[in-house]
Amino acid sequence: MVRGNGLSADREARGLRMLAVIVLTCWCAVSVEWFARSMRGPAGFVVRRPPGTEGVVGMPLIGASEVTITRRLLPPGPDGDRWLLVLPAGSDPFVLAYIRYQLAHVEYPRRIEVRAGPLPPSLDGYAGIIAAPDLVLDRSWRPTSAEGGFVRYERGEP
């Protein structure tokens, strides 16, 4: 009786081990396939960055072109300068957050505030503004350069 129970328990243990190995093999196959499929994708083995999205950190690239344009428009200047980037009104808040975080990272320690239009009531404290083309600034700001539909404004008469 005892011997019979022992054999049964042994058989059960071996059966479970066999089942575990089969399940593990299936899981490993699914993992390898998922890995291979993902590494063939656009963010796979070769991280493809389209032209005009250089200078951003990591992925995704949802607002990368705006980040790249902003960086190109920013003049070299003191680290303590505060800049304002004004994107078109109605811009996706998620893209706004992405651009703000990207610029905080890649331009550190320079501070660049990011918002969607319209312009804030007060522009005091900003060394310069980079704005979407539909935004009009008063005459105390002069356009100094433009790229990709964005214009850089600095203080001073035109």
Partner: protein, 457 residues
């Protein structure tokens, strides 16, 4: 050249950990030993670096080189050496599976040179490393809880940013690709530990399957190269559970120390790591007390993570940097509704092809468990994650959708270890205790399993 310098920096970090563990007689050879060394080196770096930031001082590499010299002198006097002995596979199929794991790791390693950092990787962890590199510390402007950088969660612990800073500092540039590269190194430690821990218990093929599956499991791989701290928590969880198991089976007196090192690594990497340390401390100390071991020396490893994170969390609390993870103002009916939603979300996930086999394996493992300690630690960790989801002040559905796959992915290596070692022990009862007779039996079964050809030496 930058990559060569970064690799050299990682070797130095490993060396500091290896020397520290050798000094206290807690070093272990083989793959799991290398991972424990690296965990110890990172824990030392994180502790010293955090104290420097708390004190408002600049973090420098010099104290770490000084420490390495002192430790090397101490090790040289005691002459324990720094042996690394690898357990190479004798089975061809196991070797092939490990080659798949190695090739996958290599492809991810090369790919990470193109900067694979993902959202949290560059928003939280790599940004802090960049600030540390440029400023030498985290300045008050960065640590302002209402300031421009509040999005980077300035109160999070600093292990990962400091390791990335260590690489940046040695490479001479705050190159994001290095943070991505570092993630793949953390990922590479997982199969090392799994292979070393499972090989003697389950046979080479099963251990190699687990190692290959872990490396290629996309939620782990993409977040590792993405620069998030989840892969560090995965290593801490796997290492802590494995060493706890080893310590409780009385196979190795240094196991509890290494368990404490892994728990410290997790606690200094992410808040989930602190929860893991708490779960492991309750289970570990409870097991020791039941065995009649109540000495401070036995309990100290479980207190280590809390001692090491105390300066940083004290500083973060004083500065108001702490993040609210749970809301105390939820109505009971809302909590009930959320519990059902979390169960539903986890259930849906469990039925997906990459997760379903893991659920089955967990079921088999729990059924055939030889020790409940590891399962309690893993279960406690997962339960804490579920509670955090239920009580979150954020949008719960958004939080689950964006984080559950990587947080649960971090539990997979430990789950594999517990499940497979339990199944192996059930079919070979001596394997769980690690006694020599059972190991030789197991080695025999490895040879029989599929016509293994032993090395002709």
């Amino acid at each position: 050249m930058i990559v060569v310098r970064a690799v050299a920096a990682l070797v130095v970090l490993w060396l500091i950990g290896a020397l520290a563990l050798a000094c206290i007689g807690a070093r272990r050879p083989g793959g799991p030993g290398v991972a424990a060394d690296f965990a110890a080196g990172t824990a030392i770096l994180a502790f010293v670096g955090s104290v420097a930031v708390v004190a408002g001082a600049r973090v420098s590499v010099l104290p770490f080189y000084g420490l390495a010299a002192v430790l090397a002198a101490a090790v040289w006097r005691r002459r324990p050496g720094l042996r690394i002995s690898g357990a190479w596979p004798r089975d061809r199929i196991a070797l092939t599976l490990l080659a798949v794991a190695g090739a996958s790791l290599a492809s991810l390693f090369v790919s990470s040179l193109g900067d694979r950092l993902w959202w949290d990787g560059w928003v939280i962890w790599a940004l802090k490393a960049r600030v540390l590199f440029l400023e030498g510390t985290l300045p008050p402007g960065f640590l302002d809880p209402e300031g421009a950088y509040a999005f980077a969660h300035p109160g999070y612990p600093l292990a990962l940013p400091l390791v990335n800073w260590w690489l940046y500092r040695h490479a001479g540039a705050a190159a994001p690709a290095l943070a991505s590269l570092c993630g793949t190194v953390w990922l590479a430690l997982l199969p090392l530990v799994l292979w070393g821990a499972l090989r003697e218990r389950t046979g080479e093929r099963v251990a190699a399957l687990a190692a290959a599956g872990t490396v290629t499991f996309w939620p782990l791989a993409v977040n590792a190269a993405g620069g998030t701290a989840d892969v560090v928590v995965a290593l801490a969880l796997l290492g802590a559970v494995g060493e706890l198991d080893r310590g409780l089976s009385r196979a190795d007196p240094g196991a509890f120390v290494r368990c404490g090192v892994y728990l410290s690594l997790g606690a200094m990497a992410k808040m989930e790591g602190l929860v893991l340390a708490l779960a492991a401390a309750v289970v570990g100390i409870g097991s020791l007390v039941r065995r009649g071991e109540r000495s401070v020396r036995a309990v100290l490893p479980f207190a280590l993570p809390f001692i090491l994170v105390a300066p940083w969390h004290g500083f973060a609390a004083a500065r108001g940097l702490g993040r609210q993870f749970v809301s105390a103002s939820l109505a009971p009916e809302v909590i009930g509704e959320r519990i059902l939603l979390v169960i539903g979300a986890f259930g849906d996930m469990a039925l997906e092809p990459p997760w379903l086999p893991l659920v089955i394996l967990a079921g088999i493992g729990v059924l055939r468990r030889t020790s409940a300690a590891g399962w309690f630690v893993l279960g406690g960790h997962i339960a804490a994650l579920a509670v955090a989801y239920v009580l979150t002040p954020l949008d719960m559905i958004w939080l689950i959708e964006t984080s559950s796959w990587r947080l649960l992915g971090a539990c997979v290596p430990a789950l594999l270890y517990l499940s497979l070692s339990g199944v192996a022990a059930a079919s070979d009862p001596g394997a769980a205790t690690g006694d020599r007779a059972s190991r030789s039996r197991d080695r025999g079964s490895v040879r029989q399993e599929g016509g293994v050809r032993a090395a002709r030496t």
